[in-house]
Symmetry: C2
Subunit: 242 residues, 2 copies
DNA sequence: TAGTGGTCTAGACCACAGA
DNA sequence: CTGTGGTCTAGACCACTAC
């Protein structure tokens, strides 16, 4: 048992690995709560919490009176809980690929009414106004327009923007992200979209509007990400609770 | 305390109502776990579970050492957990409005390879092949192409299709929905889209591809819903766990 | 030091399914 | 009947914050 980790998340990790390594047969129930609790020397409640993590990831489902089963389609790749299970930036999502960011626009301004409402700030609160194009290899993927209060995220630089803003916020500033709210819609491409995403006037755009909150309950980012329609799919897993 | 409901979900409901009715000040912590547990005569664990429900709904956030706070933006309407928190059909989402469904196509066929893979069935398993246009008032909203195994959902009729398939499945057949997997993307309109959604060739389409699973772990629905871009927004709430 | 939420325990009772 | 998961309890200890 490693330090600095809760028991249930350690157990969840271990069982997740077993599932992904096919150490449990796919066509029958995995061991029961009681026997797993015995194996891991924990209480039944803790084991339940560990398994709950995997249920919410879409890897397991449980049925009273029957047992706990592996969701086979989750093993086949495809439907992995990538996009909506973690609040992370673009950089993390495309881990391993050659991701670059080009800063098109970066200044400090005062917010308009929309941004004031989204970030819950007054018109006198200075914000960063950032426009970036994100590239994978040589190809443009997404045009991101981001607004963040300067006082919350001090010391933003061109270098940070070209790398990972989220890494800076979490590792350098030590802030914790608590939640995000996204709205996804389709739109026609603007001239800006066409210019930077290299798309045609008849190509749709898929837009993700996002507000991200810190642990403290304050909104720190409002952003509009406009993606090429041929290079973006948003995945959502949904588990009925109770 | 009503029958037929768990204690924690009853408590969550009660506290949710208090929040929405502004019975707790927005700018300070709501009562602590311990005091709420005393008020509702429950253990601290049960109260924690009740509050956890509201955290996952995006209504509350909690901070160790500080307390439990209301997420104000959730009260302002806008960011309500409508679309992704419940696995429900179109009928329920637009509750109260005049929703109509017109069945364009309804027959039993054998699945192609894509549908076989999505529903995890063989080419000899008969399925319903359903094409419906959903209207709100006089306006077309979404064109839904749905595939369901006949053996799982027996007795499908034109009348059911014109009303709510989900209600039929849950109330008439007594089946329980466990989870769903969605992929959201933008696309150009096909001729079918243009004909039924009354959209122009340059209007984008937003497509939701969905597989829905029953309690038993079997997939019962694979569908492609194509929405008018000016009448559909997909909302996602995301809470960091741990 | 006191108060908050987070984790963990050992055990109880219940609902549901299959033999 | 046994075995499964779901709920609930009463209490413990810990981590974090504020005073």
């Amino acid at each position: 048992m490693p330090q600095n980790q809760t028991k249930y998340s350690y157990i969840a990790e271990e069982i997740r690995n077993r599932i992904l390594n096919h150490q449990y047969p796919e066509n029958q129930a995995i061991p029961s709560e009681v026997s797993l609790a015995k194996e891991f020397s924990c209480s039944r409640m803790t084991m339940k919490k560990a398994l709950e993590v995997l249920v919410l990831e879409g890897l397991l489902y449980r049925k009273r009176g029957h047992g706990t089963f592996i969701i086979k389609s989750a093993l086949r790749g495809e439907q992995l809980p990538i996009y909506n299970q973690e609040v992370s930036g673009f950089t993390k999502l495309l881990n391993g690929k050659n991701v670059q960011s080009e800063v098109i626009h970066f200044e400090v301004i005062f917010p308009d009414e929309t941004v004031q409402a989204k970030l819950n700030i007054t018109s006198e609160t200075p914000i960063y106004d950032i426009l970036r194009i994100r590239m994978v290899g040589d190809e443009p993927y997404v045009l991101e327009h981001t607004f963040m209060p300067v006082t919350l995220i001090p010391g933003m630089t061109q270098t940070v923007l070209e790398n990972s803003v989220y890494r800076y916020i979490q590792e350098e500033l030590g802030l914790r992200i608590a939640s995000s709210y996204k709205q996804i819609r389709a739109d026609k491409p603007s001239e800006l979209d066409q210019k930077y995403l290299l798309c045609k006037a008849e190509d749709p755009i898929i837009e993700v509007e996002q507000t991200v909150y810190l642990n403290s309950g304050t909104a720190f980012e409002y952003s509009l990400s406009r993606h090429r329609y041929d290079k973006f799919v948003f995945k959502v897993i949904n588990v009925v609770r109770g």
